[in-house]
Amino acid sequence: MKSFKVLGSGCKNCVTTAKLIEEKAAALGVVVDIEKVTDMATILGYGVMSTPGVVLDGTVVHAGGIPKTEKIESWLRS
């Protein structure tokens, strides 16, 4: 199982990002665990200043905006 963290203050883009990952995972049949992190100290602790950011299994893989679909797919397939 892949564990995702979506970093963001709860803005619209963050919600969209979490939803996109969820949908793609369902489409590809990958089991994922998605957690939304809204605590600023934690978000900044990952070195992310522009939200939304995405953390995959403990590593930051994306920051600043909604990730592209191809990118989400590559995370799910990796």
Binding site: G45, G47, M49, A63, G65
Partner: protein
């Protein structure tokens, strides 16, 4: 160049709605049509063009530019970058923490946060095309000066003690750079996304602003302003600033209101003080900043801005009398 919008407004009144020219309603509708079309047109163009270059101005990059500069240069650089960096109040907290963590002084960081809502490239272009370059230059210079002065005061008074303690404990490690697609197609996609995002966020402010401007323009008699808001009335500036405090609009939305006020003969200083009070102090930003600033600092921040806007008002009224 912008005549087309005036013509469009003429046509709307004469041919589309067949209103009697010169009536109050016709004046108000003319103002509304001309300003709405012109502002949205300029907004889309400026946001799109800036969007193409936007990748140079991510918060991470801005932090990198300011980091390690001397204080004096830091303030100036912070207000200039604050003016050209678009950011919504929702990102002020990560930005604040990120700057401090990079060793940028609190005052320099606050200078950035003060200037960012006050001055931005979209507002500058629209202000210039509607009110002329003199008014625009005055607005930009005073906005930046207030930012620099606020930053210097905050550092001189050692207000870093009023930053919430947890902020100092955050260690960021490697900064994750935002996603950049440097190809032309990627830039265009990004810029278009910015247009949708920004227009979606501020269109209502613009419509309300133009609506208020039209109503003032068409229906409020000039004598009323001459009586209460002229430079002879010493209370006009503070009242304008205090009225603006609870109101909140984007810098672009307030321009049509300012346009109508200037046309009614309200002095330039009073109008600029009112504009700054509406856009520079916003309840949503204060609520966000409370997460990183202790109440003492927020009170200082609010009081400082209120007083500076009043000083700006009086000063400009004297200079341009």
């Amino acid at each position: 160049m912008f005549e087309i919008f005036t013509r469009l407004a003429d046509w709307t009144i004469a041919d589309l709605l067949t209103l009697e020219p010169g009536t109050k309603l016709a004046d108000a509708v003319h103002f509304f049509v001309e300003d709405t079309t012109k502002i949205f047109f300029l907004l889309v163009i400026v946001v799109f063009v800036m969007g193409l270059f936007r990748t140079m101005l991510s918060p991470e990059k801005v932090r990198g530019y300011i980091e390690g500069t001397s204080r004096g240069i830091g303030y100036v650089l912070a207000v200039i970058l604050g003016a050209v960096t678009p950011f919504c109040s929702c990102s002020s907290v990560p930005l604040f923490i990120g700057f401090l963590e990079g060793g940028i002084p609190v005052g320099v960081t606050m200078a950035f946060l003060i200037t960012s809502p006050l001055v931005n490239e979209v507002a500058v272009v629209i202000l210039g095309s509607i009110m002329g370059w003199k008014m625009t230059t005055v607005y930009v210079v005073t906005g930046m000066s207030v930012g620099i002065l606020g930053g210097i005061l905050i550092d001189r008074l050692h207000m870093e003690r009023w930053v919430e303690d947890y902020v100092w404990k955050i260690r960021m490690g490697t900064i994750a750079q935002s996603e950049v697609d440097g190809s032309m197609a990627g830039r265009i996609r990004y810029a278009w996304g910015e247009v949708k995002d920004i227009v979606g966020r501020i269109w209502l402010y613009i419509i309300i602003g133009v609506g208020i401007g039209s109503a003032l323009h068409g229906y409020v008699p000039q004598e009323l302003f001459a009586q209460y808001a002229s430079a002879d009335n010493p209370f006009a500036v503070p009242v304008a600033v205090l009225m603006g405090l609870p109101l909140y609009s984007n810098a672009t939305g307030i321009i049509p209101v300012a346009e109508a006020l200037i046309a009614k003969g309200v002095p330039i200083g009073t109008v600029i003080a009112f504009m700054m009070s509406v856009v520079g102090i916003s309840p949503p930003e204060f609520i966000m900043l409370r997460k990183v600033l202790k109440p003492q600092m927020l009170i200082f921040f609010g009081v400082f801005l209120t007083i500076s806007f009043m000083v700006v008002g009086y000063l400009l009224n004297v200079i341009f009398a």
